[in-house]
Amino acid sequence: MSTNESAETIQEQIVALLPRLRRFARNLVRTPHDADDMVQIAVERALLHLDQWHSDARLDSWLFKILRNAWIDEVRSRGRRAKLFMPEEAGENIGEASMEREIDRLSVEAALARLPHDQRLAVSLVLVEGLAYKDAAEVLEVPIGTLTSRLARGREALAALLRPPQGDRS
């Protein structure tokens, strides 16, 4: 397969993965629009660094990793540039929206959003995206033991959040 063909094939594979990248991004950032911005940044970076992708690696894991790194950069940038890039967010309170939902029932999504980043990413990659522990650890660039302990803590926290208040589960 020529380089030209493979680049085009990879682009189409990336297009096919966009729905999953969007889903993963929604676990990272608050609003769907920002999540799509993250996906766009990640995809642009992936194309710039296509030569770094080895075809024996999973394309989805590689893209998740780029997306995660783009998000980390974003979080860092927000910290140092909060006033410059995110003035609208000042004073915004995420608590309100999730409180409303809690009146009925805490949705899985809202419960996930309450987890610390580390746990949320582990849960999202393994349980939502269905990655194997090994691949999820690779995306997060941590040893597999770290991944499993984050996953276990995240699950425990989620189970507590999702448990109906009256002990009895129907």
């Binding site: 629009h33 766009q40 940044i41 540039r81 410059l84 609208e88 194997a132 425990e156």
Partner: protein, 254 residues
């Protein structure tokens, strides 16, 4: 017998080897508590599989599809080749090469800029110089040269966002323009003035109260270029004042 919860979790996720599986399955037969804990892990796994699944059925925004395909310009295929072609096209002989990502983004956005010139005519705050490069028009150039990033007084031509020193040594600043053709971009001060490196239209946000434009109108494409080209940290106000004092003249790369 006691089996750690992490092991039970790994069993529920199909992540244990055959030997461990045999041990756990034996334990399950004897111990209803272990069965219950595994069931809990499986139930949670199933619940989470459905999380955010609605997003999978949503139509993918065209901008993301375009981005994945290298913005249509990638019809010819090889992205790496395209990048070098762009670099060759954008970099005048002898220019430093650190602008590769910028070159890429700039060419992507040329269409936008051309549209811009169309809307605004020659009075635009963006214009082309004799070499066909996009440069800041008078009003924008003045804002870029003089305005500090904290300045949000009404009636400004442009709001200057982030100022930083690029890997080329040039000082660069993001800017955003509001109004009917709201846009954001990145300009860098080169020997002959402020060159527009990237220009992107700000996506129009619906007027819903819980929906806001991303990142104060700085387009993702612009932010991506900033991230790729920034050298170190952005300038703080003192840094901006110092850079302004020296006329935003490039400082040698570290």
């Amino acid at each position: 017998m006691s089996v750690s919860d992490e092991t039970l979790m790994a069993y529920a996720d199909g992540e244990v080897d055959a030997a461990t599986r045999a041990i756990i399955e034996a334990a399950m037969r004897d111990d209803p508590e272990i069965r219950r804990r595994i069931e809990e892990h499986r139930a949670l796994r199933e619940t989470l599989q459905g999380a955010f699944s609605a997003v999978l059925d949503e139509p993918v925004p065209q901008r993301l599809i375009d981005a994945a395909r290298g913005h249509d310009a990638a019809r010819a295929g090889n992205v790496v080749d395209m990048a070098s072609a762009r670099r060759a096209a954008v970099d005048a002989p002898g220019r430093r090469r650190s602008w590769q990502p910028v070159a890429m983004a700039a060419s992507v956005l040329v269409g936008v800029a051309v549209g811009y010139l169309g809307w605004h005519g020659s009075n635009s705050w963006v214009k082309t110089n004799s070499s066909g490069e996009l440069i800041a028009g008078v009003g924008l150039a003045e804002a870029l040269s003089n305005q500090l990033s904290e300045d949000r007084s009404p009636g400004l031509v442009a709001i200057t966002g982030l100022s930083f020193r690029a890997k080329t040594g040039d000082f660069c600043r993001t800017f955003s323009v509001t109004g009917a053709h709201a846009s954001s971009g990145l300009a860098c001060h080169e020997a002959d003035g402020w060159k527009i490196k990237v220009l992107a239209q700000t996506p129009a946000a619906p007027n819903s109260s819980n929906f806001r434009p991303a990142a104060s109108g700085i387009a993702p494409a612009v932010r991506a270029v900033v991230e790729e080209s920034i050298d170190g940290e952005p300038l703080d106000q003192a840094g901006e004042i110092a850079a302004r004092k020296q006329g935003w003249a490039a400082t040698p790369s570290r």
